[in-house]
């Protein structure tokens, strides 16, 4: 077995031969300190992805990489249209799990005295947690519209405003939705859950801008020190989970049909252009659009709550990013422009100013890259850089990354301890299942600042602002 090679202070290479069948090397973007936290199983997963047909350049892992299923969490890989594949293992069950950031015109000192009331009201207004169904009661027709038109549909239904759409990755609607590829089961799970936050690590958080690192870019993003922001972290709920489950079965058959050698059944895939690949892509796009509609609706209800307590205040969309998705993008490969299927599994697109996909409002600086902290720790806003295109197909990290197992967390913390500790730090928490707080204790994650420093130092995305939590509503 070949050894891992240090290429640079923040780049480690997993050479071909580390595991059998690798077609390209792996690249792990970590500092020396974070390298210690990367488990051998995670490196094996990077190597497994490197063995998939049509992979371009490297199988990559971001600094928050940790053990996943199929791809590692924090994994990025791009595949050629000719000879490449698409795999749900590179997207995950929670298709278009993502992050949305809203900026207010309120200052922390205005909101701070009413933070308890505000979090209680948000907790009431936005259904979350197990068994939660939406306030929406979407019809079957509306569900189809959400699958096909995403945020565009939500705005037409009166959730949010037109300007929101230009401040979303893909304008909140990916092309190529095929609602015919969605099973009755996925529809049954998805319909009642449209407009719900979910549980686990998903949250809605009221934050204050604690630190500005880059005044000019912060100004461009409409951020200033002491400002109140709202962050929404959720995805495509049961619809996405079921779509992934359904297509995994189909693609495991496709692997046999097309004689593809895969080291892990979660890496089930099909050759690009095959009916199985097209069907999965069309269904995945539906789930991605559902997630954008979902975050749009939640943002709308958040605005309603703010309007009740702070009449006339504004909550404008800074940006909305997907961090579990596969997309068709053009990239420079060996001096040629190629159309690639870029898989980001727990990784955020981080495009710099040279890309036309960056919204006009940010065209001269690059897209906002939103990195949520774990519960009770800071989140970061970064700005995508063109250097990311050379290093990582324009991709950055997506969060802090777990270092401690759930069972270990449950041995060390109780939900009550975690809540009390957060309260001592002035952070208010409301949760449907307090028992689940223990597993999301801040200590079970890597320090998010260290993770963000790696992408900053590599020039993938540079730091713009740090956001400190004031109140959290969770499932």
């Amino acid at each position: 077995m070949a050894d891992i090679i240090k290429i640079d202070d923040n780049i480690y290479e997993v050479p071909i031969g580390y595991r059998p069948g690798m077609r390209v090397p792996g690249r792990v973007f970590v500092s020396a300190a974070l390298r210690e936290m990367v488990e051998p199983g995670t490196i094996d997963q990077v190597a497994n992805v490197a063995s998939l047909p049509g992979i371009v350049k490297y199988s990559m892992a971001m600094p928050d990489a940790h053990l996943g299923y199929g791809f590692p969490i924090g994994g990025v890989a791009a595949f050629r249209e000719e000879g490449g594949i698409i795999s749900p293992g590179g997207v995950g069950f929670d298709i278009n799990c993502g992050v949305r950031l809203l900026r207010s015109d309120l200052r922390a000192e205005e909101v701070s005295p009413r933070i308890n009331t505000l979090i209680d009201a948000l907790f009431e207004a936005i259904p979350s947690g197990l068994g939660a169904t939406g306030r929406l009661h979407a019809t079957d027709q509306q569900l189809t519209e959400a699958f096909v038109n995403g945020s565009r549909w939500a705005v037409e239904e009166g959730y949010g405003v037109e300007a929101d759409l230009t401040h979303c990755e893909e304008s909140g609607r990916m092309q190529g939705a095929e609602p015919g590829q969605i099973s009755a089961k996925a529809r049954k799970r998805g319909r009642p859950q449209l407009g719900t936050l979910g549980s686990g690590n998903h949250f809605l958080e009221i934050q204050k801008v604690e630190e500005i690192y880059d005044e000019a870019k912060a100004k461009q993003f409409g951020l200033f020190k002491g400002q109140i922001t709202v962050m929404i972290h959720c995805g495509s709920r049961g619809a996405g989970h079921q779509i992934c489950t359904d297509h995994l079965e189909v693609l495991n058959k496709a692997v046999k049909k097309y004689n593809i050698d895969i080291p892990d059944k979660q890496l089930a895939c099909a050759p690009l252009g095959s009916p199985e690949a097209n069907n999965y892509f069309g269904a995945m796009v539906c789930a991605a659009n559902y997630a954008w509609a979902n975050r749009h609706i939640i943002a709308h209800w958040t605005r309603e709550v703010f309007e009740r307590y702070f009449p006339g205040s504004k909550l404008d969309l800074v940006y909305d990013v997907a961090h579990n998705v596969a997309k068709i993008e053009e990239h420079q490969v060996d001096g040629r422009r190629e159309r690639l299927y870029v898989h980001r599994k727990g990784a955020t697109r981080a495009f710099g100013p040279s890309r036309r996909e960056v919204p006009q409002a940010y065209a001269n600086v690059g897209q906002p890259v939103l990195i949520p902290g774990s519960m009770g720790t800071a989140s970061y806003v970064l700005c995508g850089c063109d250097r990311a295109l050379e290093l990582s197909f324009g991709s950055a990290c997506h969060g802090a990354g777990r270092v401690m197992s759930r069972s270990q967390a449950l041995k060390q913390f109780t939900g009550q301890d975690v809540k009390a500790a957060l309260n001592r730090n002035g952070i208010v928490v409301r949760a449907t299942s307090p028992g689940m707080l223990a597993e999301e204790a801040p200590q079970v994650y890597k320090p998010s600042g260290d993770v963000v420093d790696v992408v900053h130092n590599l020039g993938i995305a540079t730091k713009v602002a740090r956001l400190a939590p004031m109140g959290v509503s969770k499932g």
Binding site: H66, G68, G70, F93, G131, R189, L248, N252, D264, R402
Partner: protein, 141 residues
């Protein structure tokens, strides 16, 4: 023989479930899946659900079975504590499963959730038969 055990996993939940028969193993796997969400002693059997599935091999059938339980949990807003499984293999060697699941509607006052299982992964998913049947599963939570 223990019915199931949880193994260390950083991000998700990994378990092995055992059985003297494939049926018992699948029943214990369903119990392991639910046990990590809600304590079974808090679940009363007030209703039953019937499940019928078929697949070309036992591993695919097991994957469908556990995925079906997640689907029922979500769409029926119910929690389950009894799983009675019957397996058959037909002449063309396809596997058929018939099961009866017992449980009740979710009542958040009595059912304290420790996790929510999103899906069953195929990562390192497998069945082995030595002295007893054993299935290994990693859950996405």
């Amino acid at each position: 023989m223990i019915a199931f055990e949880y193994l260390e996993h950083t991000a998700d939940i990994k378990f092995r479930a055992y059985g003297k028969t494939a049926e018992a193993m699948l029943s214990n796997a369903a119990a392991a899946l639910f046990n990590c969400m809600v304590r079974p002693e808090t679940i009363a059997v007030k209703e039953t659900w019937r499940v019928e599935l078929q697949a070309d091999d036992l591993e695919d059938l097991a994957y469908q079975w556990l995925s079906e339980i997640v689907f029922l949990f979500e769409t029926e807003s119910s929690v389950f504590s009894t799983f009675s499984v019957r397996l058959e293999q037909d002449a063309a060697s396809a596997w058929r499963l018939q099961a009866e699941i017992g449980g009740e509607r979710i009542d958040l006052l009595r059912h304290a959730f420790a996790n929510e299982v999103k899906a069953i992964t195929r990562h390192k998913f497998g069945i082995k038969k030595n002295e007893v049947w054993c299935i290994q599963v990693i859950l996405d939570v």
